[in-house]
């Protein structure tokens, strides 16, 4: 299976396209895409950053950075009500946005032979927060929306050791990795509905 030899740019393009598609569906307006550039992201540069980790044939991290105002505007669309802060539900919605963007990108990559999955999504608030132990530069592009700007950063860490195995072996490895405990933190308990 040599079809998984995607380069960093192809991976970044898939994620930026996916972010455009998801935000367009959500906000009913197509974002305007800025130029792709190489930039470091060991520390956050935006007021709020959604972080999603991917594993599988390709491993890496995806960052969606934005101002708090932009995040609140996106949340108003997602929750269909007024939103003024970042509580547990709001953070869960933003993390789900990260998962949706990533899963949409992974569907595009799957069509090109790479089997990957998102393992974890979370939200980091504040600038200069360390978001990754890796110091690899990322490929980034800003998306301009009516409600502000979303900076899409894609960090490519490498290929999995099983990336060139048979599809069956890769699926089995993917399943084992996905089931490894502790990769995705469970949320707090939610009481049963009456």
């Amino acid at each position: 299976m040599d079809s998984v030899r995607l380069d960093k740019r192809e991976l970044a393009e898939a994620v930026i396209d996916a972010a455009s598609m998801v935000l367009r569906d959500l906000l009913k307006l197509p974002p305007r895409r800025g130029q792709m550039q190489i930039t470091p992201i060991q520390f956050t540069r935006d007021e709020l950053t959604i972080v999603t980790r991917i594993s599988g044939d390709i491993s890496g991290e995806i960052f969606l950075g934005m101002s708090k105002e932009t995040a609140l505007a996106i949340l108003r669309q997602m929750l269909r009500r007024e939103v003024t802060g970042f509580g547990r539900l709001e953070k869960s919605a933003l993390a789900e946005l990260g998962t949706l963007v990533t899963d949409t990108a992974l569907a595009l990559l799957e069509e090109r032979g790479a089997l990957c999955y998102s393992t974890w999504s979370g939200v980091v608030t504040g600038r200069e927060e360390r978001v990754t132990p890796f110091s690899e530069p990322t490929l980034a592009a800003p998306l301009s929306l009516a409600v502000g700007e979303v900076n899409v950063n894609v960090m490519f860490e490498g290929y999995a050791p099983f990336a060139w195995a048979s599809p069956e072996a890769r699926l089995a490895a993917r399943r084992r990795l996905r089931l490894s405990p502790g990769e995705r933190p469970a949320e707090e308990a939610v009481p049963l509905a009456a």
Partner: protein
């Protein structure tokens, strides 16, 4: 008596979305589960008319939970909820006995169409 639903997803936001969509049309959300293991346990207690099931979750994923629930009750009705990037896992779940699927982000109409088709 309105039909009962158990909602399974590790994301609070997704559980809330589904709950809002379902209760707006008179379905009773009798329980929530954050992973497959909880879904199996709640299914034993609650025996709902329908289970909505996310695919990728910690502890026990949706595919394994579908298999367990179908062992407990071969007539269980399970609606898978997945995003575009989980097609191969979704196929596994359908082969394991899930009845139908809807994709995320949820759209009220497609969720309600599937639920109505499955449990009325």
């Amino acid at each position: 008596m309105s039909k009962s639903v158990l909602v399974t997803d590790d994301a609070l936001y997704c559980r809330m979305e589904l709950k809002n969509i379902l209760t707006s049309r008179g379905y009773r959300v009798v329980g929530e589960a954050r992973n497959g293991q909880e879904a199996v346990e709640r299914y034993r207690e609650l025996r709902p008319d329908l289970v909505t099931m996310d695919v990728v979750m910690p502890e026990m994923d949706g595919v394994a939970a579908v298999k367990k629930i179908r062992e407990i009750d071969p007539g269980a009705t399970i609606l898978m909820c997945s995003s575009m990037g989980q097609r191969s896992l979704l196929m596994e779940a359908l082969q394991a006995g899930a009845s139908d699927f809807v994709t995320k982000p949820f759209r009220d109409r497609s969720v309600l169409n599937s639920v109505r088709k499955l449990i009325g």
